[in-house]
Symmetry: C2
Subunit: 434 residues, 2 copies
Amino acid sequence: MSKPAIGFCGLGAMGFGMATHLVKQGYEVTGFDVWQPSLDKFKAAGGIPSTSLFESAKDKTFYIVMVATAQQAQTAIFGDGTGKDEGILKGLPQGVTLLLCSTVPSEYAKSVEKELKDVGRDDVFFIDAPVSGGAIRAADGTLSIMAGASSAAIDKGKWLLDELSAPTKLFVVAGGVGAGSNMKMVHQVLAAIQILSVSEAFGFAAKLGLEGTEVREKVIKSEAWSWMFENRSVRTLTEDYFPGASAVTIIVKDTGIITSMARLLNFPSYLVSAAEQVYFAAVDKGYGANDDAGIVRLWTSEPVNSVKSTLSPEEKETKLDFVVSLLTGIHLVAAVESIAFAKHVGLPLPQLYELAVEAAGGSTQFKGFGTKLISILENGTGEEEVRDHLGRLKAAVNEAQTLKCPLYLGGAALNLLVSANASLEGLLKLYTVR
Amino acid sequence: MSKPAIGFCGLGAMGFGMATHLVKQGYEVTGFDVWQPSLDKFKAAGGIPSTSLFESAKDKTFYIVMVATAQQAQTAIFGDGTGKDEGILKGLPQGVTLLLCSTVPSEYAKSVEKELKDVGRDDVFFIDAPVSGGAIRAADGTLSIMAGASSAAIDKGKWLLDELSAPTKLFVVAGGVGAGSNMKMVHQVLAAIQILSVSEAFGFAAKLGLEGTEVREKVIKSEAWSWMFENRSVRTLTEDYFPGASAVTIIVKDTGIITSMARLLNFPSYLVSAAEQVYFAAVDKGYGANDDAGIVRLWTSEPVNSVKSTLSPEEKETKLDFVVSLLTGIHLVAAVESIAFAKHVGLPLPQLYELAVEAAGGSTQFKGFGTKLISILENGTGEEEVRDHLGRLKAAVNEAQTLKCPLYLGGAALNLLVSANASLEGLLKLYTVR
């Protein structure tokens, strides 16, 4: 077939990359944004800029919405109700394929499907298709995508999802519209916890008198590795927070989706909730628009890379070990929280594993324990003691106490490990409502 | 008998009150302190000041140690090991009765008993006797006292414990030395949580646009009442933090005793741990020497009583209700955490109830649910659903999320209630190691 024209709404960091990638692949892409500089940049990159949602949608048989929030998506799709801005739906032709790639509550994605029907537009092939991978992979067309929709809609949109994702990273999630967003949500459980764990670890390390570069080197070679740590620590060490690459407000939004849904569905999101309070404190400090790696400033007003260590090699090893133990313990419990939530909302667990292990939520702990946790939940086998994790996390929390260093996640993870008596099954049971 | 001379070490806020109360009762009290102004004040109040531990102890058949920490107690009793300061033990005559009234880990109290034996001084009648009630009750001789010792030591020291405590507030805790400190520790679980809950509630209220005086009025008449709230909120409303009456460092010390012991004994101290991290953040902000009511400044830099409400009466009622719901939920889980810890360390639960319900740890929730919780633990009966607590706490946490207001305790308490499916028995099970 000849390459169809594509409409696109939302030329932010992610959307701009996705839209220009499609331009490079030879598609005619009409892009809408409210921010004129983005439209100018998009034009310079070969796109067709548009200042009207309606015009951006007219006669497009494929349309992608990649705005920041559910509220923005609602206005973009259905208009703002004032008649001033009509939204794209009025412009979209019959039989259009519509991708919503924003991270939104699954309830919202389902409400779009319902509202389309209610307004007589069940001709629209709607795909709930949140993405993960960051701006670079967006621009490369190598995102991870979690897509939920009717099989008819998936059939229609698959080629476009393929264009945007890496070969093995398009995950069609069973369950229809909402399933993609649910999968993204449980993936973000890992992200929400592990983003804060970077700052908590560097804050602790600074109070231990460790040099930032040594901490980074040690952690990324250890069982405390996470994608977030490796990614964010580059910015921690250079104080590249202004604005950096991923604003605190973004993870605050995702965290809010998780904890709201957890409240709605009666799931105890212990660590994400603990993280959320600290994110609010960071926003209150005025860090909202800064990179999330900058949350370390809640622990230390001095740059992390200004610490000059005076420790002996043995002391240094002991203290680096505390940091590794802290992250290892947090990441293990994060794996449990994410997988237990996936189970709670009825998602296919092996697919979550496959997806997250190589995405932004990935960690050595998730990789090592994910299949065991899934096996316990699915087959009742795979029980394992993690007594070493417990003992080491205890030692780290103990040390932090002598330094009066807050470990919001470390403290919470430790109590869960204690209560579970260092058993994987015990941890999962803490997430199983009585 | 004629009134014996008493030795006293530690003329701080509590110790000064206790020692001068004994002076007023007609005892000859020799008081030691390292702070000369306290000695001067003590002399003016009719006491005998002493700048030597040894001298303060010489020929005293009764001696009271009321210093701030276990470390200070160790130096006071056994000397600092340098020979420069010999400590009281060398001065104390055979058969002396020694009261340690400081809040210390029970392990420390036990170590004193052992060390006395090891150095050949098992003639000392040693009583582990921490107190509660604040400086005013110390000076009135109406403290609550939790005493653990051999029955021989209790026989010897009971008259002195009676002098210091209110008629019904001397609690001799079965179990010997260490039992008094353990009882104090589980009482402080309530204190540690409920002190922070005052600031969390006022911080939330300020963000809700509520006036501080209205919040106070509402809360103390509601099921959200706690002794701490009624006591601390007076200082919150007047910003009486400098130094106020109870420094952050004091509750930090007590919290540390709780969480250290919880780690040692594998007890999951969920809420106290969450509180501890916030206390560390407060110390980091420089609030350590200020009154603990001033921790509200982590939420709002404006004085709480500067909020001028523009809410309609209905809005105000709804929002006041959120604050009441927050505190009610936290205090319920605090009651569970305290009673479960008491069970874990083997303390007599009815005695804890009797003690705490009228002490600084008291709350309407503890009073209402304490006996039911004890009945579940002791008889397996008394199960009750607290679904209303769950629903209301959810609504409060939900509202806080829209305001991006951190609820460290509220968020943690909610997850426990969710996991327990709003059952008292379920809550207790979360504190029972698998």
